[in-house]
Symmetry: C2
Subunit: 300 residues, 2 copies
Amino acid sequence: MSLLVVGSIAIDSIHTPTEVRENILGGSATHFSYAASFFSGVRMVGVVGDDWQQEHTKLLTDRGIDTSGIEVQEGGKTFRWTGKYHANMNDRDTLEVHLNVLENFSPVLSEEAKRCPFVFLANGSPSTQLKVLDQMTGPQLVVADTMDLWIEIERDELKKLMQRIDGLVLNDSEAKLLTEEENLVRAGQKVLEYGPKFVVLKKGEHGAMFFSKGESYVMPAFPTPDVVDPTGAGDSFAGGMMGYLAQQNNFEPKTLKEAMAYGTVVASYIVEDFSLDRMKEIGREEIDQRLGQYRQMLSF
Amino acid sequence: MSLLVVGSIAIDSIHTPTEVRENILGGSATHFSYAASFFSGVRMVGVVGDDWQQEHTKLLTDRGIDTSGIEVQEGGKTFRWTGKYHANMNDRDTLEVHLNVLENFSPVLSEEAKRCPFVFLANGSPSTQLKVLDQMTGPQLVVADTMDLWIEIERDELKKLMQRIDGLVLNDSEAKLLTEEENLVRAGQKVLEYGPKFVVLKKGEHGAMFFSKGESYVMPAFPTPDVVDPTGAGDSFAGGMMGYLAQQNNFEPKTLKEAMAYGTVVASYIVEDFSLDRMKEIGREEIDQRLGQYRQMLSF
């Protein structure tokens, strides 16, 4: 188990322009872990309430994910999120959030978790992310996700975090908010100045951009006509990326670029159905096949 | 002169978040021709008023563009457009439009123009575009641009046009408007059903998508930190694409893809300054150099 993820585990209700799905499995750590499991062993740390269903755990363990770090809070309820997608399936509104057990979650890592060489701090408050980092014993690669809320209310903590991580993943509007730069290339380059060695800027249906001191590039999303539910695309992207890095056991520029491509391809699957439904149907073979199509698409 | 373009010639006033430039050269045919001139001879057809300055003509003829098809209407004024860009430099509002001589423009082609094998019908009313097509004597490849206005007020004429052209170029919001599909892959594929053999869907700062019966792919924009004025990016893209096709004298899938890449690279230069200012500084060498960077960026 070389890859650790700490993040949210959620029960989602999703409204798309054509369908509503209530009480389906979601959360950043969930999507990340499932995507990463096609490449590498994953140790998942998070919290749920006693409404948590064993079938969810089974879904994860069946993919070889170590769920021993999922804390069950007796008398508590699992984090719930209800979201509604716009007609373009790229923008969304949050209709309801119930933090529940997530509100006072303070992750305590096991000895095994502390020694994981690859770490992903999925979206959570920077202060919680820092607390996780404080417990780690010399990780090789730490990548964190963040979001607009933390940029607005915990900017100082986020700045501290950025000086201690290798990579930051955030979306385009968040990068603009963080840097006050409207041009995405400038925004990405400016985030580097805060500390991370590389920055991945997610653009939803338009793909992702990569920035490091040495290089910057764009990778478009893999075009799919079947966008059913985009929830979890960003976390699945990160899962595919980090899973591949953990599997390769290095993060050279060449490997990072391949990892970005794998992340893109995995994210193109997750959006094709609700929750993990599409992911359950595929294996590494389908991922590699689509990676081949993607490489072909980008060569001229 | 194997490539013909019929379109607008404009005097633009551009408001960006940081600067205002009044009375600068613009127009779809202008941007297209200048971009195409790095690859192929271009014959430009359009109309201007007697306020037209000879220095503009010289700028075009210096690049080898045949301007004999530019009609000067005595007593008339050149088409004027004033636009204001949003902070993101991707969205814009039209502040003023004075059609002037463009209002009753009915292009009459010379014998040489009629025989051009490669034709680009830049943005204009579909009925005017059809009148141009009626004058052509067996072109090899006809590509047209269109816009939301024509989709709304001349949909029937546009449908007729689409059955007579090889390729249609339009932007993402226009494709959604035309097809009533929100997913861009579906939208692109649906446009094919109207008649064109291929469709190029422009996504501004996010690049362009290509659709034909046999294949579909996405090409991201070449990332530049220096977006000064995006005016003309779409027409320059089309100019680079068509110029390359005319130069290669074929439109095989492989050539089309290379042409899409060249269009992308040329468009990345035009946005780096107002009007044609950046384009005046570069040559084919710079374009090929950036094409190399672009190819490198997309390989993994």
